[in-house]
């Protein structure tokens, strides 16, 4: 009996235990977006706690039945909290939002963590702050391989490895700028102070930005906003001696912990006539204003952003550059002292440019567990460009060029990231309308048109081994132009009537009205490898097959270019450019002194149907005979080398050097390509002592060698000298001689909020001419310039 009671008790006890009051929980902690296991995560369920192992696995044994709050904590992650009911054994996966202390901005850009085989050089916040009064073209020329193609000092376009304009798109906060960029004297409409850093991607490796990004891409990024309640900003005031100018910039940022942020920037710059070492340049003033505002709500998982920005510039063009004909040009070339002089003035008269540019953008993104990060962008741009020439009587108040460009762009992009690979796919759509008003009472340089384009791209990156990354990208674009173009009857009949009769509409007098409809298709791809044999060595190699659709000027340009005394003519029959680019980049860190970083970047670019302008004849106009330059397609070969060195000599001294060489050859006509960046190098030595209130002092020397590879395109004129007719050749081709320039930069932080900087360029007031400045025929470059700026941060 006693025995049976004992058995019953044992049975009872067993059933009691088998009613399961405790359970086991097994789980894994992984990163939300790339599914990488997160070790060292401390997980707590009620009072139970454990830590995940190196595979992200964790176990809880014998957890009492009940409802608990589960929290998971990992450095760099937001705390993960969830209610959990424990009434059976559980197997759970925790997705943590990793590495987001700040919030990413809602822009599409190659992130710094994952450039793979792209060659990216960055101008950081400090470089921008030290040169806050500069324009984009001039500030980017501090990067090896990048020059500034200028029309006077206030109009500068970036030229990367000899390529510019349509071949170097500019991405402004995720928006590809549409601003008549085909024009050599059309400066980008941006205020660099609106951006936290500027990336220059050299070469055609970035298919995401379009198939025309053959020279590279300039990507301008605003700052990343912190996710906390703050109000911060800065005010920056500059004085500029050369031009007696002033610059002002105000930046305000209000962020909230819930992810809302409002940012606004405003800027103003005014300059009067610039000065060469010996004389004032009449009518070279500038007035520029900019404003932008961003409202966004971002979190790690989703975000939406509204952006609006506007820039307004009035740029004076040196009076002495407005040429009537070649005889006028000859007179300008043979006088060393300028004919046009005036006392210093802020007045901006004809010739001048007035350009307004508006951008409005809505963008949004959402991260999905399996689909990755999907972003959508819609942007609208309005660009109104007016160019005023010296015109007769009352007509001088009307611009000779008045173009309005409306551009709509839509992009949808999906980025899926995993531990060993990432795949980025997207679709770009664009609709653009260009209107050239007849109120100018001057011939249209480019016609009215509608442009429709669409592109689809996909970029795959793969971590083959911890030391080897591979990447491949593919892009397909279609473009359609619908143009309304008036031709001279003789031009239409000689050049196009036979090949394009379907575009003819009607004839009026000696003018022909046509409606060309052109379609282009483009397939581009790239493949790259990045090999890191050690932490101190990094080799990147990239091959890109590129294609570019001709721009509106290359197809339909038609008119006299005053400051060049040249008639420019487009060609409707242009085909896509078709090229192959090879780029190699070797980065190494060496143990010299306190660290030496060296970067060597050779590249080769072979193109069929490369579009360039060459002189093709002459045209007799009422002003005289002008050379005619037509857009033509040639076979081109370009190669070069960029070299950068950065040596930390000791605690306080730092040396930076850079060198670049560009070789360009027109294989069809067996001569060098025009406007190739001359070989140049720069050396700078900086002394910095953080203990002295962040005081720094930098001396820089830049040397530009004479470009001895150039095509000879010299027009001739006949003039009467001493009663005898003689032929004179205008040397418009020979580049200027070698020159050296010195500059100083120094600055100090007076207090936590105040900092000041002084920048002196052309320290020794050297009289020089720059091959890439189209004004070099008429004047020398700017003399010494002192730029003082004071910044207040709060």
């Amino acid at each position: 009996m006693k025995f049976i009671i004992h058995i019953c008790l044992v049975f009872c006890g067993l059933t009691f235990f088998n009613a399961q009051n405790t359970f086991n929980i097994q789980g894994k902690v992984i990163d939300f977006h790339d599914k990488v296991p997160l070790s060292n995560t401390s997980i707590k369920i009620g009072n139970y706690s454990t830590t995940s192992d190196e595979n992200g696995n964790f176990t809880f044994n014998n957890v009492n039945k009940g409802t608990y709050t589960l929290t998971a904590n990992h450095p760099n992650c937001d705390t993960f909290t969830e209610k959990i009911e424990v009434n059976k054994d559980l197997e759970i996966t925790l997705n943590l939002e990793h590495h987001i202390a700040d919030i990413e901005t809602v822009t599409i850009h190659g992130t710094h963590k994952n450039n793979a085989s792209m060659i990216v050089k960055t101008l950081d916040k400090e470089a921008i702050a030290r040169n806050s009064t500069e324009n984009l073209g001039n500030i980017l020329s501090n990067i090896s391989g990048v020059g500034a193609l200028k029309t006077g000092n206030n109009i500068a376009k970036p030229i990367i490895h000899g390529l510019y304009g349509s071949r170097v798109p500019i991405i402004n906060n995720g928006v590809k700028m549409a601003e008549q960029e085909w024009g050599v004297e059309h400066a980008p409409n941006v205020d660099i102070n609106n951006f936290e850093h500027i990336d220059v991607i050299k070469g055609a490796s970035s298919l995401k930005y379009g198939s025309d990004a053959i020279g590279g891409v300039v990507v301008m990024e605003p700052e990343v906003f912190p996710k906390k309640d703050t109000l911060k900003g800065s005010a920056n005031l500059s004085g500029i001696s050369n031009g007696r100018g002033v610059g002002f910039h105000l930046h305000l940022l209000k962020t909230w912990e819930n992810g809302w942020a409002v940012k606004t920037n405003g800027g103003f710059k005014k300059l009067g006539d610039l000065k060469t070492p010996h004389y004032n340049l009449m009518n070279t003033g500038l007035e520029a204003t900019s404003f932008n505002i961003t409202v966004q709500k971002n979190s790690f998982l989703r975000g939406i952003s509204f952006d609006y920005s506007v820039t307004n510039q009035q740029i004076g063009i040196y009076r002495g550059s407005d040429m009537g004909n070649l005889e006028d040009f000859y007179k300008a070339l043979t006088t060393d002292v300028p004919i046009y002089q005036r006392d210093f003035s802020y007045s901006i008269d004809n010739p001048k440019q007035a350009v307004q540019h508006h951008i409005a953008k809505i963008s949004a993104f959402k991260r999905f567990e399996n689909l990755g990060k999907i972003s959508m962008d819609y942007s609208f741009q309005y660009n109104h460009r007016k160019e005023f020439d010296v015109r007769r009587g009352e007509l001088s108040q009307f611009p000779s060029l008045d173009l309005e460009l409306f551009t709509n762009q839509f992009n949808i992009n999906d980025l899926i990231e995993r531990q060993y690979w990432s795949l980025e796919t997207g679709i770009d759509l664009m609709y653009q309308y260009n209107y050239s008003t007849p109120e100018t009472q001057a011939r249209r340089l480019v016609p009215n048109y509608n442009k429709y384009s669409g592109g689809i791209y996909s970029i795959f990156k793969y971590k083959m081994t911890p030391r080897l990354n591979a990447e491949a990208g593919l892009r397909f674009d279609v473009t359609k132009y619908e143009v309304k173009k008036w031709y001279d009857l003789s031009t239409w009949e000689n050049l196009y009537a036979e090949n394009f009769p379907q575009f003819y509409v009607n004839t009026e007098g000696n003018r022909v009205f046509t409606n060309p409809i052109l379609n282009y298709k483009n397939l581009s791809f790239n493949a790259g490898l990045e090999f890191k044999p050690s932490n101190n060595f990094d080799i990147k190699f990239n091959y890109a097959k590129v294609g570019r659709t001709p721009n509106i000027a290359e197809l339909f340009a038609d008119g006299l270019h005053h400051s060049a005394a040249v008639i420019e003519v487009g060609n409707m029959g242009m085909k896509n450019e078709d090229g192959h680019q090879f780029t190699l980049n070797i980065d190494s860190k060496l143990n010299v002194l306190q660290g030496l970083q060296i970067s060597v970047n050779p590249y080769l670019f072979l193109t069929k149907n490369f579009i360039t302008e060459v002189p093709t004849g002459i045209q007799n106009t009422i002003r005289g005979v002008f050379p005619v330059w037509s857009y033509e397609q040639i076979d081109a070969k370009m190669y070069g080398l960029d070299f950068d060195a950065n040596l930390k000599i000791n605690e306080n001294f730092n040396y930076k050097g850079r060198f670049s060489y560009v070789y360009g050859q027109d294989l069809t006509n067996n001569q060098p390509l025009i406007l190739m960046l001359p070989p140049n190098f720069s050396n700078s030595l900086e002394f910095a002592k953080a203990e002295w209130k962040n005081f720094y002092f930098k001396v820089e020397n830049q040397t530009f060698l004479h470009q001895n590879r150039f095509p000879m395109y010299n027009p001739t004129i006949n003039i009467f000298e001493n009663g005898v007719e003689v032929e004179k050749t205008l040397d418009l081709s020979t580049p200027p001689p070698t020159y050296l320039l010195w500059g100083i930069q120094t600055g100090i932080d007076f207090s936590k909020h105040f900092s000041a900087g002084l920048n002196v360029t052309n320290l020794f007031s050297k009289n020089y001419k720059d091959y890439l400045n189209r004004m070099r025929f008429f004047s020398y470059e700017m003399g010494r310039n002192f730029i003082l700026n004071i910044k207040y941060n709060f």
């Binding site: 009537g324 809505i362 609709y431």
Partner: protein, 182 residues
């Protein structure tokens, strides 16, 4: 998202805005170009006027017939297609100046403009001139190169070699070549 319909409305408004303009098909031709330069040459003795019309892109240049030892009164007229540009030059007389270069021909020129084509700086534009012919044919191919200068820094009626009138700066608005013969 409930905001989606507002976004779509906003987009539709933007896209339909300014997709075309009413006058986009119209042609535009330069309104200030000069297409013809006409010289009305009056023989002071006989009162007979001959007209010489220079057109840009014509195959041959007009040839002015002059007799040695005679004097002529010359009026310059400028056309743009069918429109008279001479008035617009007079209206902007301070911006214009004619330069006469008698190449291979010995002719003395004086300007006899009235107030309507005399500039504020006292120099006369040259729309009306008197030519005293010494020797019309003084070389194998004598010719007159007539230049219209626009917006010079300064001008002068002074003779400079074979050229009557000089301009410092400015650009050439028109250039005509006339042959000279007896």
């Amino acid at each position: 998202m409930k905001h989606l319909k507002y976004i779509i409305l906003f987009l539709t408004l933007i896209l339909t805005f300014s997709c075309s303009r009413a006058d986009e098909d119209l042609d535009v031709l330069s309104q200030e170009d000069i297409s013809n330069i006409i010289l009305n040459v009056t023989d002071d003795a006989t009162g007979i006027t001959q007209t010489y019309n220079y057109t840009v892109n014509s195959v041959t240049n007009p040839v002015i017939k002059l007799t040695d030892g005679k004097s002529y009164t010359v009026n310059a007229i400028f056309l743009n297609g069918n429109e008279d540009e001479t008035e617009s030059i007079k209206a902007a007389k301070d911006e214009h100046f004619l330069i006469f270069d008698f190449q291979g021909s010995q002719i003395n020129l004086t300007r006899i403009d009235d107030a309507s084509s005399t500039r504020t700086d006292g120099n006369r534009v040259g729309l009306m001139t008197k030519w005293n012919v010494v020797k019309a044919i003084n070389s194998t191919s004598p010719q007159l190169v007539l230049t219209v200068n626009h917006d010079a820094v300064s001008v002068s009626e002074q003779q400079n070699g074979t050229t009557f009138g000089t301009a410092n700066g400015g650009e050439t608005d028109a250039m005509a070549i006339f042959g000279i013969s007896n």
